[in-house]
């Protein structure tokens, strides 16, 4: 998405000056090219080498031959495709109605729902997946047990150990992201067609299907492509649900190639698997850019301060609330209850009178024997450093792209968007290889810094989309006044532009902070003893069989998150709708 396309009509604000601004813009572009390009180069390099990082050796196509001559690879590719498609469909099926209800209607309890959706993001996907196992496992799932008892079935009603099951769980976990991405489009949608439909007596549901969905289709399609790219890179659900049942997807293969359950790491294979992922990512990014550009033809953003009328749900209010409750049950309530239940028991077991007799708070009392302060400190570092670094870079990039006439600003914007096309697992593996093979030049392997760098690279695309959008909205008169008054370029940026875009930046800062908190794929791929974070601790506990302990930790984290999110929501409500940074 090149912001310059929007800027053709804008008058020149700040001239390109090779001596100062041009050099700065060039330096920034070079920095981004290195940040994004180096891990990619490593992926290519490792795909062409055998052995361990740093061992050198001749370049070879042996990894590609091994990977792409195996029929299993094509099965994995098909699995990946189906899993990603299914996840996206599930997400959209929940996210679009939810965003319409919350952004366009008079649905009650909106504030509470926002907070709960944000809290949902903070429940680690691993823990939610464990909850789903307890519900939908063909053998022990409560839903299946009840169905068998109620209907006298001789086989389980549903199973999650298949691609649809995996896609369902992953899709539900994507809903908050999709919701916040679509919220802006629905919040600023021109209501005239919608109102015309109601005036003509068309029902609300028909209006939703025939007006709201089509008019926001470019935004929905853009989100679908974004989610598809995320789905091919995610690791948690494929690891817990897919891997035990031998349903392999690309992300799991890349992870297990570098962190094998048996045998030794094979970075070459990971690179060869990653190559196809990279091609898919770049292709999807191309379509994403096209969709976003295409979406501009549908630009329906109204003037400043305009608030479209909210639709009265009338008697449908309760049905709508039931739908939201169903979603929140799947996303927040049920996982939380399962966590709470597991946290009170000495070992994981299904509800029963016998289990009830064993309930105690012992796991809460001993949780900090199992986890020391380091993962909390590292997580706090990520939650502060990653959004701060990302937003600083994003503001600088957007300022050059949106507010200057630097000749290569379009290229800078493209480079900033490129990480969107790189699956996170691949980025992490590439960075890890870089850190191992060239540790003298890049001495961060095994530190929290390498995870922070991976996160920053990943979310710079999101950060710059946000800052581009908010900077475009800021009128140029104040900047021009500042320049006329003799203020330097940096002073204009710091004293005029930044305060005006602070709200949007803050929202994005919070969002990236939360994403960094819960991210596990890159943290695991780059994880060592020294850079453990909470999300990797959760994975480690599950592998160690410490489910009651990790459940207790999860409950405490969710409660903590609820308090923090609630306070942020109240305290910063004047800075704009919390979490709606998109």
């Amino acid at each position: 998405m090149k912001a310059e396309a929007n800027l053709g009509a804008l008058p020149r604000v700040i001239d390109s000056k090779p001596s100062g601004l041009g050099l700065f813009a060039g330096g920034l572009t070079a920095l981004l090219i290195i940040m994004v390009g180096a891990p990619l180069l490593m992926v290519v390099l490792m795909s062409l080498r055998t052995g361990f990082p740093g061992e050198g050796g001749p370049l070879t196509l042996a990894n590609f031959i091994a990977v792409y001559s195996s029929p299993g690879t094509y099965k994995v590719l098909l699995n990946t495709l189906l899993f990603a498609l299914g996840s996206v469909l599930v997400t959209i099926a929940f996210a679009v109605p939810l965003v319409w209800l919350l952004m366009r209607t008079d649905l009650p309890l909106k504030g509470t729902i926002y907070v709960l959706m944000t809290v949902g993001i903070l429940i680690p996907v691993f823990l939610r997946t464990i909850a789903w196992i307890l519900l939908l496992s063909p053998r022990i799932g409560l839903v299946n047990q009840w169905a068998i008892q109620l209907f006298g079935l001789d086989h389980p009603l549903v199973s999650l150990y298949n691609i649809p099951g995996m896609a369902f769980i992953q899709g539900v976990s994507f809903v908050p992201s999709a919701f916040f991405m679509l919220a802006a489009a629905y919040g600023t949608m021109d209501p005239s067609l919608e109102e015309a439909a109601y005036t003509s007596g068309v029902s609300k549901f028909q209006t939703f299907l025939r007006i709201n969905v089509p008019i926001t289709w470019p935004a929905i399609a853009g989100v679908m492509v974004y989610l598809f790219m995320s789905a091919i890179a995610v690791f948690e659900v494929p690891a817990i649900i897919g891997f035990p049942a031998r349903i392999l997807v690309l992300s799991a293969l890349i992870f297990t190639s570098t962190n094998p359950p048996t045998g030794l790491p094979d970075y070459g294979l990971a690179g060869a698997y990653g190559a196809v992922m990279l091609v898919a990512g770049l292709t999807l990014a191309y379509f994403y850019v096209r969709l976003v550009h295409h979406g501009r033809k549908y630009t329906v953003i109204t003037g400043r301060g305009y608030r479209p009328r909210q639709i009265s749900l009338g008697r449908w209010k309760w049905a709508a609330l039931a739908f939201v409750a169903l979603y929140l049950s799947m996303e927040v309530f049920i996982p939380f209850l399962v966590l709470l239940w597991a946290s009170l028991l000495p070992h994981l077991q299904l509800p029963s009178a016998e289990a009830l007799a064993q309930v105690s708070l012992d796991n809460y009392a001993t949780i900090f024997d199992f986890v020391d302060a380091l993962p909390f400190i590292n997580t706090a570092i990520l939650m502060l450093a990653v959004p701060t670094g990302t937003m600083v870079l994003s503001v600088l990039v957007s300022w050059i792209v949106v507010r200057t006439q630097i000749s290569f600003r379009g290229s800078l914007d493209t480079v900033a968007f490129l990480p969107h096309a790189i699956p996170s697992i691949l980025l992490a593996v590439g960075l890890g290889y870089l850190g191992l093979a060239y540790r003298n030049f890049f001495p961060v392997y095994g530190t929290i810094a390498i995870i922070a760098i991976a996160h920053m690279i990943t979310w710079i695309a999101y950060g710059t989309r946000t800052t581009n959008a908010v900077m475009i909205q800021v009128h140029r008169e104040l900047e021009e006044a500042g320049k006329v008054a003799g203020a330097s370029t940096s002073r204009v940026l710091g004293r005029i532009v930044l305060p005006l875009v602070a709200s949007g930046i803050f929202n994005s800062w919070i969002w990236i902070s939360m994403l960094s908190y819960r991210e596990v794929t890159m943290a695991l791929a780059l994880g060592t003893r020294k850079n453990l974070v909470i999300s990797t601790i959760v994975w480690q506990f599950w592998g160690n069989g410490w489910v009651p302990q990790v459940s207790a930790l999860g409950v405490l984290l969710v409660l903590f998150a609820m308090v923090v999110v609630g306070l942020l929501k109240i305290g910063f409500s004047r800075l704009g709708e919390f979490g709606s940074g998109h």
């Binding site: 299993g72 196992i133 297990t256 030794l264 000495p346 199992f370 095994g446 020294k530 994975w539 069989g545």
Partner: protein, 345 residues
């Protein structure tokens, strides 16, 4: 190990020597204690079943014995094979290992030995019994696990439980059985009583049972929950940790042979704090360490008369591993991992 079997009292001897060494002030151990004091810390990789409390108890007893104040950082193992692979991978690139001392099974130390990744040390010089020292001065053996098929007794009655390894091939377990990534369990049978051909055929036949895959802890959790009814092989580490909490997972007793991996403590090459690590490796053979280990991790040596492990193995056919089987077990562990589906190709 078979060699260890020939001298069942070596731990007692080691304990006596270690005890004497603290009183008699033998030079090598004094130097080591002095060096350990300077290093001040140890990154201690050990089974997750030891638990953090157990690890801290080991650390406290270690400090007390040698008059030290070493900070022990415990890393619970989630997957020994993966972490050993990581150490080998890091070692090949010249990056120091994350851990100073690794307590993993003899099969995992075999990988380090094959890759020449042990930091060798004359453990005998500081009191370790010669027969406990393995892999060319690379590790010290101090306890035994036991491995058998296991089942959830809430779902499977003792009458229906597997009575032999071959019972696991019964179609009634299809889709109801799990296998862990600890594929060295099977490789030990291949290197020992069964031979490679029989074991490989057995492993291939198992895959037709639609096995659920996972790490040991995961498989144990699924067994606890009843998601699977039987696990191909589970170590007593898992069972003993949960035993006091009335978990319904039990060994399929009577299945023979009984697999007995040994826990070895070894220092990977280029470890940051080798002196503390070498001292700790020998400390783990002392009576006080053995007592703590058994209390928390559940294991003791099968070669010390009177220990619970010693009693357990009486009149059983037991498969121990020896150093000359290391390469074969290392190779077959990887091969069986592929057959089970733990790796992509």
């Amino acid at each position: 190990m078979k060699r260890l079997n020939r001298c069942p009292s070596f731990f007692l001897a080691a304990a006596l020597i270690a005890a004497w060494s603290t009183v008699g002030a033998a030079a090598p151990i004094d130097d080591l204690v002095k060096g350990a004091k300077q290093e001040g810390t140890i990154e201690f990789y050990a089974p997750s079943t030891l638990t953090p409390q157990g690890a801290q108890a080991v650390g406290a007893a270690f400090n007390k014995k040698y008059g030290l104040n070493i900070k022990l950082q415990y890393s619970p193992s989630g997957n020994m094979t993966r972490d050993i692979g990581k150490v080998v991978g890091l070692g090949a690139t010249g990056v120091p290992p994350e851990w100073d001392l690794m307590v993993v099974t003899d099969a995992h130390h075999a990988t380090l030995w094959v890759k020449k990744m042990h930091q060798q040390f004359d453990y005998k010089s500081i009191g370790a019994d010669a027969k406990a020292v393995q892999y060319d001065n690379g590790s010290v053996s101090f306890a035994n696990q036991f491995v058998l098929p296991a089942y959830n007794k809430k779902i499977v009655s003792a009458k229906d439980a597997p009575k032999s390894w071959d019972d696991l091939l019964n179609p009634k377990w299809k889709g109801k059985m799990g296998v862990s990534s600890a594929t060295h369990h099977m490789a030990r049978l291949a290197a020992g009583p069964w031979g490679e051909e029989k074991t490989t055929n057995f492993v291939k036949a198992l895959t037709k049972q639609e096995l659920i895959l996972g790490r040991l802890g995961e498989i144990y959790n699924r067994l606890l929950l009843g998601e699977i009814e039987v696990a191909v092989s589970v170590s007593d580490s898992e069972l003993k940790t949960e035993k006091n909490k009335n978990a319904p997972v039990v060994f399929a007793e009577g299945v023979t042979p009984l697999i007995a991996p040994a826990y070895h403590a070894g220092v990977p090459k280029n470890a940051a704090h080798p002196k503390v690590a070498h001292l700790m490796a020998v400390f783990l053979t002392t009576p006080e360490a053995q007592k703590i280990w058994e209390k928390y991790a559940g294991q003791s040596s099968a070669f010390i008369p009177g220990t619970s492990a010693y009693k357990y193995v009486q009149n059983k056919q037991v498969v121990y591993m020896s150093q000359d089987q290391a390469e074969m077990i290392d190779r077959l562990s990887r091969e069986y991992g592929k057959i089970f589906g733990f790796s992509g190709l």
